[in-house]
Symmetry: D2
Subunit: 366 residues, 4 copies
Amino acid sequence: MTRLKLGMVGGGQGAFIGGVHRIAARLDGKWDLVAGALSSDPDRAMASAAELGIAADRSYTSFADMAQAEADRPDGVDAVAIVTPNHLHAAPAIAFLDAGIHVICDKPLAATQEQAQELAAAANRSAAHFILTHNYTGYPLIRLARKMVARGDLGAVRVIQAEYAQDWLAEETQSKQADWRTDPARAGAGAIGDIGTHAFNLLSFVSGLRAEALSAELHSFVEGRSVDDNAHILLRLSEGARGMIWASQVAVGNENGLRLRIYGAKGGLEWSQEDPNRMWFTRFGEAPRLLTRGQGEATEGTRIPAGHPEGYLEGFATLYSEAADLISGTSPTPPLPGIEAGLDGMWFITSCLESSGNAGAWVARD
Amino acid sequence: MTRLKLGMVGGGQGAFIGGVHRIAARLDGKWDLVAGALSSDPDRAMASAAELGIAADRSYTSFADMAQAEADRPDGVDAVAIVTPNHLHAAPAIAFLDAGIHVICDKPLAATQEQAQELAAAANRSAAHFILTHNYTGYPLIRLARKMVARGDLGAVRVIQAEYAQDWLAEETQSKQADWRTDPARAGAGAIGDIGTHAFNLLSFVSGLRAEALSAELHSFVEGRSVDDNAHILLRLSEGARGMIWASQVAVGNENGLRLRIYGAKGGLEWSQEDPNRMWFTRFGEAPRLLTRGQGEATEGTRIPAGHPEGYLEGFATLYSEAADLISGTSPTPPLPGIEAGLDGMWFITSCLESSGNAGAWVARD
Amino acid sequence: MTRLKLGMVGGGQGAFIGGVHRIAARLDGKWDLVAGALSSDPDRAMASAAELGIAADRSYTSFADMAQAEADRPDGVDAVAIVTPNHLHAAPAIAFLDAGIHVICDKPLAATQEQAQELAAAANRSAAHFILTHNYTGYPLIRLARKMVARGDLGAVRVIQAEYAQDWLAEETQSKQADWRTDPARAGAGAIGDIGTHAFNLLSFVSGLRAEALSAELHSFVEGRSVDDNAHILLRLSEGARGMIWASQVAVGNENGLRLRIYGAKGGLEWSQEDPNRMWFTRFGEAPRLLTRGQGEATEGTRIPAGHPEGYLEGFATLYSEAADLISGTSPTPPLPGIEAGLDGMWFITSCLESSGNAGAWVARD
Amino acid sequence: MTRLKLGMVGGGQGAFIGGVHRIAARLDGKWDLVAGALSSDPDRAMASAAELGIAADRSYTSFADMAQAEADRPDGVDAVAIVTPNHLHAAPAIAFLDAGIHVICDKPLAATQEQAQELAAAANRSAAHFILTHNYTGYPLIRLARKMVARGDLGAVRVIQAEYAQDWLAEETQSKQADWRTDPARAGAGAIGDIGTHAFNLLSFVSGLRAEALSAELHSFVEGRSVDDNAHILLRLSEGARGMIWASQVAVGNENGLRLRIYGAKGGLEWSQEDPNRMWFTRFGEAPRLLTRGQGEATEGTRIPAGHPEGYLEGFATLYSEAADLISGTSPTPPLPGIEAGLDGMWFITSCLESSGNAGAWVARD
């Protein structure tokens, strides 16, 4: 198999998520990282590129230059990974889409609805693919859960409890990661954008249901913080289902507690991201069963046998692996999140802000 | 120690909670069951009494007769346990309180606000004690949690997640237990009254905070059911804290999933009723600690050493044990739920119904 | 139902296991404690009796006097509970058996083989029942496990891993409980007698297999201790099965970790005493199932529904409840441990000592 | 950083562990796979190489040819990964070591003591490194455990319980993986070699203690199987510690249950491979603490923050990452298992066979 060529925007030295994208791209051996606009700071861009084995002439300081130059090269990148802060997703994504280069973009789609709409328009007019790395959808048991719900193992879905609890922002924090995430201009929102969108996406991905309205109560507990650090959201979903999302970055004792529980008329599923190789399935009236990654049906997206735990990086890598298969034509329709999932997330964020600003009044979807 | 004398209203053959109260009363050896109005059906009342070793002349078919007769006897009961369906709590409780006999009453306080107020008035005018068996407050680790919050181990409380999930009403069910619980006239409400009040009580008991307003979304999933079987409730608590309660009787795979998580500025606590001998405590920035019943400070209300699990019956028995100590004067101020807790619960139920009937509008407390 | 009359030998103020027996006897309302030789110290015997509501004329200072006096009374005790240290089990048990009074005796059977044989002879010549409180056999899921193995749900049993890990003797300890347990004269042995016999009994009770030979490595880690505090034992069981027992009182972090895992050709079961309401069952090639107390078949010996945890006291109480049913003729053949289980335990203890003293050479059973 | 060049012996299409080594080598971006003798079957060798992007002129059908050719090339491989069945480890390892090429070899060292000694001699006479992929040593919490024991957090180690339980060989199985593993000529032994050595290695790696003697009881439960599928082993360790290992491939319900528990005079540690991001640590008399990968000290060998689970592949990759650092001189003394660990494992296997063949007699180490 020929490896595909990957470029990257953002992700220079000191960044977190860029490194994750690079491991994910390497893990299954389908990508080579060959170009980057890793930093707007020229020195840091160059040093970062050198460290990653990117040739000096393919290390750019501007994403616009990079999009044009790579599109012009016969050996230009097949796709670009965009791993900048939220407010800097849309512009580079549009530039690469317009240059006909596939885009793999970190979530959420953008920091504002306006940016999101412009990006959606670019994606629609481009022949290139747009993939949004809602990476938790790559977990094998999440894939199985989606399949089980779709074929009716749970009966009609009634109630979904999703939550994403962390504690790293329980106190005032100063770090590169914390700074932009708590700055309204760069992040767009707080916990709801950073982690709430993951919970919302996962809930939608697994259930196949559409959120029709929401009511939200956002709160900021840490003095001086101008974005939400705790959010309670009620959902009315299609087909009469009800949902609840709790997203918090001040829940002391929680590291990265993304959990999903789905209950239908005939069965229930429970899964936790921190214990991703196991999922509970109960048929009404029967003993709960422990489904494990790698056993029975739970083999989609796995690399190693049951009992050999896979984790966050493997789930992330599955998105890169499937993106490669999609681009190379090996697999035409992987369940990769794209523009629609991104717009859903933007609706979620803006509606939470609207509802919470209006005493929790329900905000309906058009 | 002389044992106290207990009577019982309700709890005849075929009932569930009456048997639980009797075990709870026996367990610590402080009570003798000597009288009862166990059923309004004379034959069943007599057969039930005989089975329980209650003398025939102290088996009544009317709680009113019983209250008067026992008050008149020199060896009359010290206290009466009321274990009837919700709509039949207030009348007997009032009768016994007015007769000067202590009352131990199953929760919730009543089926309607009107009944509740009349009962509260009776309790206020009587010298007798009124104890409401919110039995989950009797668990040793719940007692420890309350103590830890009160003395500031968690810092200022910010977020409380309480939930009570069951699945036994996921389908239409016909049983003595299910029948009255899904009948609005006898139960007053569905899941919010039967189990939601327990979650609300526990949240209040442990946190010491007062609910100032709530927003609720009640739903009934099983066709033909006229009370709620799933409820999502947001809470605004005193001192700026936020809370969320989920109560469901259709969450397939959940047996009796009462869970409480409390997060403050400095620490977090997590506890689950189905695993009641363990509680997680995390100080911000430190490793989570597993506190166990019987170890360290967690000895209030325990009978046996750590590692020898106690459960539901022991927690329930602690209420009976403390009621005996209160009545006999051995312990003047046990933390037993009473009229105030009952009125809180009635506010919770009626406000949930009001909010949910009004598109989730916030209902404030006077 | 008429309650049976219980006497007690040992269990005066400051003792541990006597109080447990009394709660167990009370819990299901089938016994009244009416007589006792609670202590060899007359003052403590009298004070203990008074506290328990035992009439002064039925408080004895000698078990021999008590056996004779109670046998002579028309309202004498139906049974006696013997809750003294190990070396004081045999003599009172023989006295009561010879007096025709049923005996409920704490484990192990005795401190020496000689005592055990004399006790067995007394049990054989008496019409009275002898019940040994290997209380862990009373847990509902242990009852279910035994049933499942017996009917072949696991196929032929191959491997059994039993362990009983505690840490309370990790350092030199001084307490009434620790003192006699670490005194060879009073205890007979250390961890193998105190807890190893429980593990061995449970393994035998559930599997229905007979130990045919064992090899043991006993060790004492705490300086100055003259009995074992850690034991590793290999077992050859009937029908070709293999077993392993680990018993330790120095395993820091373990409170009362009695665990049993049984694997057969077709399935496996796993259970832990500290989480007694749940048991794992896996059929080869299928997802593990979580069986819970109170659900499905797991209702033998339960009092309350699934999700309402029962514990150590309830399991213990089941032995008292069944003993009452056996004596009153209500239930003719409950699976209560008796002399045979006691002799098995004595073989286990003496063979462990013999094997360990002989470099782990296998000791076969006659 | 310049990537190192890797070759591979074994691991052609249909093999399992070869693919794992390749992912491990790719994950951290320090290796490029450029040569291979992937299969002794020429067609399969060529097809496998093509699939992996290995140039045709560097796809060999003989490891001997490969060792010579690669040693002669100016751009020859820096190291070779040997991923053949056990009986084919020694010969290629010796060939590459003699050619001055570093060797990364799957465990166990060899199928026989004779092969092992020859390999050890080759390693001693070569300047090249020999690394044995006891991959479980790469888990971050195992690294932390080793560090904690070494610095005395547990006090003097007393008891170690190690176990490795699987069920995939509970019935007669036919697959490429199962075939050679149950063939004495190719595997050398059964469960003790395949998984028991991992448990033994981990016990030694973490405790820093040396096994001085062992007693073993091996058994084969599946009819017609000529190697052990269940093993119970007692250990006498240096400094008076005692250990127990249970290795089974017929324990129904266990996937890859490698578990380690270490108890010292002052503390205890418990870890399970299937839940590798968490480890229990208890100081005597204190509440158990849950240490998590990525938190506090548990950051050696991690890539992503706490709460983002890493797994088997990441632990394996750490060995490749450290091997690269060792070879490139970046890190001089990583704690990588080598010849000594391999010889320890061979002693373990041969002594288990000897003891079990001699009624469990203790086999001492020279």
